[in-house]
Symmetry: C2
Subunit: 529 residues, 2 copies
């Protein structure tokens, strides 16, 4: 392939600077920059990375809460010709170390919140040679400082990574208990970015608020789309209903991306009606359908906004379908569409297939499969799992569902054994591995159960070893504490129940989780992915 | 690369059928079809091609005037996993044969206008095994008929050609006297198609009129963009001001693509004001800037339309810049922008470089270079010309120009020795080769001279051999007749002058065409590419 002929992330920043150089690019606390400044800082930071010995093709992690410097680091990594590995900020150190080793990361950007984890990572990750503190030199505690690298270097020419070259490796929970690195190309990300022009209704010079974590594919695409529209990014370190409301009011934010649980918290926040939210034109949400009562409230609160549901997964970089504002119908026969995740995005082909991969007609249940330019290159170092997921260029989502005659997709079940809680994917196997490590546990099955706030909650059903001495609350606390040492807090069981009889098994001797879920889900629809 | 993961032309037709199946897809004379029908016909026609022995990766030519069947053949070729070679309908048989041989074309679609050329092509093109008549069986004269192939076959599954695989080879005039085959991938064409969503202002369900030739990259993109918007295509076999006006009036056309010479003819057509042209929302034009007087008239005639100038070349599939409706300012200080070709499209990076390839600041002249996902893979079978044109992923356009401080590009000269007449590129070398074959000619230099109707006209300056007997009009007619046997009519000299003294030469012994052009261009701006 000819070098540099394809889509390229850095082109977005260059264009924003070329056409809106004096426009505001980023706002964080009291720091405000223009696109000219951001483009210049990115080119200097990339030069700084090269000055440290980083070369084209290196993988560079970012372990930090949301910030303008996170945004600069993201583009500097691409400008330097490298691949970004955004780290899940909720992971335990052992999980982070696993992913850094898996991706042979050689440099990490970190902020003050994660400074304590860095020595441990440096010890456990053989390839990790450099750590850059996302801040000024006087706060860096001796580490190389982001701002100093920018000050000390002159802008380099864009290393021109593009097209089918990897832009990054994004980790998701793994079905076998290990996180999987999703390899995404520049084309993958551009395809999703470009949907801003078709479906997101963002206007040139829009103002996007980053409250969802920037390490997620969903917010990553917001980083790209707002840049493609040469707009302004406002960053909050993490989600908080009050600061979210304040930021929207103060900066006249036009687009926000949240999961329904966040929208609900904003809605229920005391005094939310006192803020001026009339600037918001687009509310994007994903990870689960929005309860009707929340939607009604949110549409009143964000009274000028169109609502847009996104369904997808990291493997699609990440968009598969969109439920558009005009399809958010609250009254009449079309309200059922609210339970849909919308139609395939303009660049994507979707189908429903049976277990043999045969396409099914409208209305018939099957597995949702997707193909198109958003489909990942594969899982890093996991050829078997890649082969099981990518067949003939189609991505097998692991989600069950159907398509109606109008082209709307409905996700009815996840075929992968996975729980979605507060927008995060949790693979049952991973939790089961952690629980099984506890000395009192003989057997465990982890399932998702309905939760008003988080969509689903992680629930463990445990069979105890004979002669276990711990009992009641002490036992539960002991198991939960044990899990927290192994895996991220959001993956740990929120509730635990015990059973004496063996688990119901399928013909293939697999635990029949559908049976275990039944008593919890009776009369409720299970959330979509 | 994983199979079928990228952008794919067939997805456009599939989506139009999935989401607007009962909407009108194509209109030609009294034939009207829906997207469901078109998608079905395309899938059957592809199966028909396979039934004839065509396989994935074959190259298939189309030699025909515009029609709905041309459109079906285009998508069927992709559906069958093949590459399209759209043939310039104005070429002489020898030029067509050269391109079919160069591309090892094994199947050709042809219509009644070109039926007579097919036996000659079959004789001269070794790989050409199949010819399909773009019509019904009773008109096919014994050839395989397009409609019959559709009737006789059941739909096949899309062969899933995509991404970096070639979608087609489009021929342009060659600097060395031979046409060059521009290799364009699915990604190249999709990048240009997707600009419909950003910059073309086409609405869902728009109605596009094909009067520019469908073999051109410009109209090819119209075939794709209107399909991407699930709209209606109206076809006229070729341009004619009266049928154009009638078609717009009758079918309520919303977008048209024309070169300025066509717009002028429509404008000057007797009775043009009697038609209802209020449906037209977008007038796209390219190949040369529009004279102010023509634009003023056209804006009055198409009073509801935005005007959009496209600058590009086949090597870019084909768009580099767009001058948007809001930049078409007729009065005040911004009128100078009308001489610009606009700003770089959203997915494209542009620069001005000097002869060493060093980027130049705003306002400084140099060569225009472009990179991004629209840039061709290269010239087929011409590695040297590819290497001279593609450097580090940048396409060197051969056009001289500059960028102003607001990001507008101005094309001030063509660095390649090329003439643009009525939207067609004519390389001087090609014409000079033809003229030199005449027995009376000792030397020739071909240049473009200003022409009110065509932008430029092809002019030959000839030095005769001693002792030539033919004189005056007889000589000129003899030379013109000789040329018409060799090359397409539009490439032949429109006018000829003679000189006795040798041509002025550069230090490198090249003819100084700038000197030869001077007397013709005094006081006039040379047209852009």
């Amino acid at each position: 392939m000819m070098l540099a002929q394809g889509y390229r992330m850095t082109q977005l920043v260059k264009r924003a600077a070329a056409e809106n150089g004096t426009g505001t690019s980023t706002i964080m606390d009291d720091r405000t920059r223009t696109w000219d400044e951001t483009c210049d800082r990115v080119a200097r930071l990339a030069a700084g990375l090269h000055s440290m010995g980083v070369t084209r093709g290196c993988r560079i992690a970012i372990l930090a809460l949301n910030s303008d410097r996170y945004f600069e680091a993201l583009f500097a990594i691409w400008w330097a010709g490298c691949e970004v590995v955004p780290v899940n900020t909720r992971w335990a150190a052992a999980e982070v170390a696993y992913s850094l080793n898996d991706a042979s990361v050689n440099t990490i950007f970190f902020d003050a919140v994660f400074a304590q984890m860095v020595p441990e990572l440096t010890r456990d990750c053989g390839a990790l040679n450099h750590a850059v503190f996302l801040g000024a030199e006087n706060e860096a505690g001796g580490a190389i400082a982001h701002d100093q690298l920018i000050a000390d270097n002159t802008p380099m020419i864009d290393a021109s990574q593009s097209g089918e070259e990897l832009a990054g490796v994004l980790y998701t929970g793994g079905t076998t208990g290990f996180p999987k690195g999703v390899m995404l190309t520049h084309t993958n990300l551009w395809a999703n970015t470009q949907s801003v022009f078709t479906d997101f209704y963002l206007k040139t010079g829009c103002c996007g608020l980053h409250v969802a974590p920037m390490f997620h594919a969903a917010d990553l695409v917001q980083s790209l789309t707002v840049t493609a529209k040469m707009g302004t990014h406002v960053f909050l370190p993490s989600f908080n209903p009050e600061t979210t409301l304040k930021a929207i009011h103060h900066h006249k934010v036009t687009c926000v991306l949240m999961v329904p649980a966040m929208i609900k918290m904003v809605l229920e926040h005391h005094g939310s009606a006192d803020y001026d939210l009339s600037s918001v034109e687009t509310v994007m949400y994903g990870a689960s359908p929005i309860p009707e009562v929340v939607l009604r409230g949110a549409m009143e609160l964000f009274h000028n906004a169109g609502f847009l549901q996104v369904y997808g997964q990291t493997e699609l970089a990440p968009i598969a379908t969109l439920l558009k504002p005009e399809d958010h119908v609250l009254d009449g026969p079309l309200t059922m569409q609210l339970r849909s995740c919308g139609k395939a995005v303009s660049f994507t082909e979707m189908a429903i297939v049976d277990e043999q991969g045969v396409p099914q007609p409208d209305g018939v249940q099957g597995e949702i499969i997707v193909r198109g330019p958003g489909v990942m290159r594969g899982y890093l170092n996991k050829p078997d799992q890649t082969a099981a997921t990518l067949k003939n260029g189609w991505l097998y989502t692991g989600d069950g569902g159907y398509r109606d005659k109008n082209g709307f997709y409905y996700v009815s079940d996840r075929m992968k054994d996975m729980i979605v809680t507060g927008g995060e994917n949790v693979y049952s196997t991973e939790v089961e591995n952690a629980v099984m490590g506890h000395k009192a546990v003989a057997g465990v099955a982890v399932i998702g159960i309905p939760d008003d706030e988080w969509g689903e909650a992680v629930h463990a059903i445990i069979i105890l070893k004979d002669g276990t001495k711990l009992k009641g609350d002490d036992l539960i606390k002991s198991i939960k504490d044990h899990c927290k040492e192994q895996i991220a807090g959001y993956k740990c069981p929120k509730s635990i129940s015990f059973r004496k009889e063996p688990f119901p098994l399928s013909g293939a001797n697999k635990v029949l989780k559908t049976e275990l879920r039944k008593p919890f889900w009776d009369g409720q629809t299970r959330g979509v992915n």
